[in-house]
Structure formats: structure tokens, C-alpha cells
């Protein structure tokens, strides 16, 4: 897993719950709850291209 993400243009995935994503999210991010990460739900993304994930903060 990389800790640097200067790969501008990569899809940004919000892994917070749907309620939290609806309330406040990084503009342009895609909501995909952590517990829903599975083959079918991530099929929209290329596995060989950069992908950025985030939640609230590092805590």
C-alpha cells in the first residue's frame, strides 16, 4: 500500500458509511462503504490504475 498519492486524476473513493458520504464528501468522490468492498462493487474501477481511498482522518 502506498502512502503517497500524488497521482492526480485517480478516482477518489469514500469508504465512509452511505449516511456520512451523503452528508459531506470530497467533491467528485465515489461512495463505496468499506463493508461493501467486493469484486462486483469495485468492477467499475481499473485494477491497474491508481485509486485513492479516504475516510474521516488518520485516527
Amino acid at each position: 500500500m502506498s502512502s503517497d498519492w500524488r497521482g492526480g486524476g485517480a478516482p477518489i473513493v469514500d469508504v465512509l458509511s452511505p449516511d456520512e458520504h451523503e452528508e459531506l464528501r470530497i467533491a467528485g468522490s465515489v461512495g463505496l462503504w468499506l463493508r461493501d468492498l467486493e469484486e462486483t462493487s469495485v468492477a467499475r474501477f481499473s485494477k491497474t490504475d491508481p485509486l485513492v481511498v479516504y475516510c474521516h482522518d488518520h485516527l
Binding site: 498519492w5 497521482g7 492526480g8 469508504v15 467486493e38 482522518d57
Partner: protein, 181 residues
């Protein structure tokens, strides 16, 4: 949570997963654009002016004064990485042209974050009769200046011209963020 998500995605075969560890909170604090139903209200980033005139502490007052073009009445003193060291404003300009900025600047001016709520800040500025405040990132690097008039205009619903242009892939401040890190 995002670390677990990154590991999960790697388990699923993704080869280049980046964990934005500082997360949404960091994004908000630096005033990057957000969407959603959050009723927080306007933030500083929506009203600030970027690219104020800057000089280094070793500059002469005369060369700093020459930067006062247009409506600018202050020059921000920064070091090479752009960290705010002081500001030349009001009585600082009484110094002779040949003197050094570091001898007459106002050191350690207060700053706010671009993600701060605009309403309470403008109210504080009114109470203290403050015309403007510097805006910095969490590392103290200069981003811009918030004029109270511009803040009041945004709060009253007046639209202002966008401060940042969008890049091809990401909205607004992303480009700034990339340059600053």
C-alpha cells in the same frame, strides 16, 4: 478505516492504491471543495483572494512598497517555502525605503485556515475592526488573504468570481494542494 479499505482493495487485485490518511477532515481544513448536505455554511475559501504581493525579510522596504499595486495595502513577508513570517502594513510603511523589511514588519500575524467557517470569522473581524486576515495551510504557508468586505459579500449571497480553476480530473484546489505538498 481507509487503511483497511486499501488493504482490502489490494486483496481484490488493485495494484496502485493510495490511502489519503489525513482524510476528509484534512481536506475540509484546507478548504478543498466538498459536496453534501452538511449545513456548515460558507467557508473562508469561498471568499479569499489569492496571490497577494509577497517579499522576503531581507528585501528593502522600498522594493516591498513597489509591490503595492491596485488595491493592495499590505505585503506578506514569507520565506523560500512560502511560510508566513510577517506582514508589511499600516505603520510598517513609515520605515525608510532603504531599511530592511525584517526590521519594520509586523511579525507573526494571525492566520486562519481556508476551511474555517466564514460567518463566525467575519463577526470576529467586525468586533475587532479587522479589515483583512491572512489565510494559510496547516504548515503556515501562505494561501491568500480574506478581506472582510469579500467575506460579507459571500455571506450576503453575492457571488464572486471563482478563485481557483478546475483541473481536468479534480475540482478546484486540488492543483494547489498538489503544488503545496
Amino acid at each position: 478505516m481507509s487503511a483497511r479499505a486499501a488493504w482490502r482493495l489490494e486483496q481484490l487485485g488493485f495494484t496502485e492504491v493510495y490511502d489519503y490518511e489525513a482524510g476528509r477532515k484534512d481536506w475540509q481544513e484546507v478548504g478543498l471543495p466538498t459536496d453534501g448536505t452538511d449545513p456548515r455554511g460558507p467557508i473562508v475559501a469561498e471568499a479569499l483572494t489569492v496571490d497577494p504581493p509577497t517579499c522576503e525579510p531581507g528585501s528593502t522596504v522600498g522594493s516591498a512598497r513597489a509591490l503595492l499595486l491596485g488595491d493592495w495595502t499590505q505585503v506578506v513577508v514569507v520565506n523560500a517555502p512560502g511560510v508566513i513570517l510577517g506582514v508589511m502594513r499600516k505603520e510598517s510603511w513609515d520605515a525608510p525605503d532603504e531599511s530592511l523589511v525584517e526590521d519594520s514588519m509586523r511579525s507573526g500575524p494571525s492566520t486562519v485556515r481556508p476551511g474555517s467557517l466564514l460567518g463566525p470569522l467575519v463577526e470576529r473581524m467586525k468586533r475587532k475592526d479587522t479589515e483583512s486576515v491572512l489565510v494559510s495551510d496547516p504548515e503556515g504557508r501562505l494561501i491568500g488573504v480574506l478581506d472582510r468586505d469579500a467575506g460579507e459579500a459571500v455571506l450576503s449571497g453575492d457571488s464572486i468570481e471563482p478563485t481557483f480553476e478546475s483541473c481536468d480530473h479534480c475540482p478546484g484546489w486540488w492543483r494547489y494542494r498538489m503544488a503545496a505538498t
